[in-house]
Symmetry: C2
Subunit: 295 residues, 2 copies
Amino acid sequence: MVDLRARMAALAEEVEAALDRMLPAIDGPQARLQEAMRYATQGGGKRLRPFLTVASADLFGVPHARSVRVGAAIELIHGYSLVHDDLPAMDDALTRRGRPSCHRQYDEATAILAGDALQSLAFQTLVDPATHPDAGVRCALVAGLATAAGPYGMCGGQMIDLLAQGRALDLAQILELQRLKTGALIGFACEAGAILGGGSEPARAALLGYAADLGLAFQIQDDLLDVTGDAAVTGKDLRRDAAAGKATVVALLGIEGSRGRLAELRNSAFVHLERLGCDTGVLRAVFEFVISRSS
Amino acid sequence: MVDLRARMAALAEEVEAALDRMLPAIDGPQARLQEAMRYATQGGGKRLRPFLTVASADLFGVPHARSVRVGAAIELIHGYSLVHDDLPAMDDALTRRGRPSCHRQYDEATAILAGDALQSLAFQTLVDPATHPDAGVRCALVAGLATAAGPYGMCGGQMIDLLAQGRALDLAQILELQRLKTGALIGFACEAGAILGGGSEPARAALLGYAADLGLAFQIQDDLLDVTGDAAVTGKDLRRDAAAGKATVVALLGIEGSRGRLAELRNSAFVHLERLGCDTGVLRAVFEFVISRSS
């Protein structure tokens, strides 16, 4: 049995240190921007995406420092997306990770710029030779992250989510929305381990299959927490989906139906992992964690 | 004598076609996002940055299709920066290129997402093997563009600009602001030609020196147009700098003093170009164009 919480806590510290090295110093007349970039990415979060990258990379014997670095770069993208999603014109969220959201701590303009600069920094980090000695591998990482972040990934999903407010989406539409909004970046976090380690096509496909199930499960659990969770534990505003008339799996299948779907996704994910033919205990434990978390 | 306007018009068409191939099709439930990405980048603009990339690349015999592609990727970054700079929380501009700004044509959330997705697309484009067969060259391009766009480039400059509103900056501070806000991306547009063509260090330094002078001259001319220009010709809101109490070279040196500074920058730029030891007539003509343009 893997002690996942201890492992995640240890990795979160390493990611924190990696981010501290990557993020610009707070200096010069633009110091406010660098402060906001750090505020948005440091000191919080489960660091699930970096953990997935490291766990996947470990299957291929990738040096730890490399996978931590790539995981932290993914976290820069995740952090930028949270800052922009929280803006008044988007989800208008007041809190994030138990603190004021970035635009409330600073202001809207600074938050927009901090998100923009975090995205640039993520790609700058990936192409640095410190990421991997082979430029072809670095290019594959940039291509994968850019695709996951763009119109057929995270940004596309957020667009659909905004358009869906107050509309009745069917289950297929909701699943497509979540595949892009949350799934794409989680998928890349897993795939990045295989890219770093030169994994075979079947191995990459198995990891992506696992990640697709995990990403959807993550989102369903997020939606369940929005309905049943405790704001003091999750560190963010709750009951927002229903208030905004958002289409979610939980709204459509109900709480019990959603829990049943989580169990199905777990079975499917474990079948994908078995195909890898190696010890995937950590990735299995991540799945259990994601569907049982309370924050 | 180079017929610059004809050359720029011809290249603008090629850039338009390249953007059309790069930009995502308008399809799927997120079609609104793809529409806004196209609205923000197609059908307008002088395409100065791509022109600089192609003119610089021509010095090193780079295949035309490659430099056009890289120039168009830079234009994606430029386009995203205009969309975000025009937002109500930033410069609150109503028009751009003679049309409603992106957030007025769509809405703020769509404009934020379109800018974000354009940034991702720029990096996705650069790492594609179609950009250059050597992955090391592609990585150098991503590194250069990410640096030019980030906290020590464009985003940093925009932050300083926002903080400067209503404050009395001295000339050194204004020059630093503009070096980052406008200069960094123009610098990369020139340097990219040398990166694509494997130019020597002295050649890269000469191009960067030229670009620094050009970038500042471009901004001074922009500020002069804001004071003396015709909104029907420039296609954007004017007299906004003075209204916002913005610190500009023109506010500090006056119109005649600014024109004197343009002449000095021209001399300096041409000294840099002479160091290249080849026919730099096109880049000289670009400088003349930039300091004499009326839009």
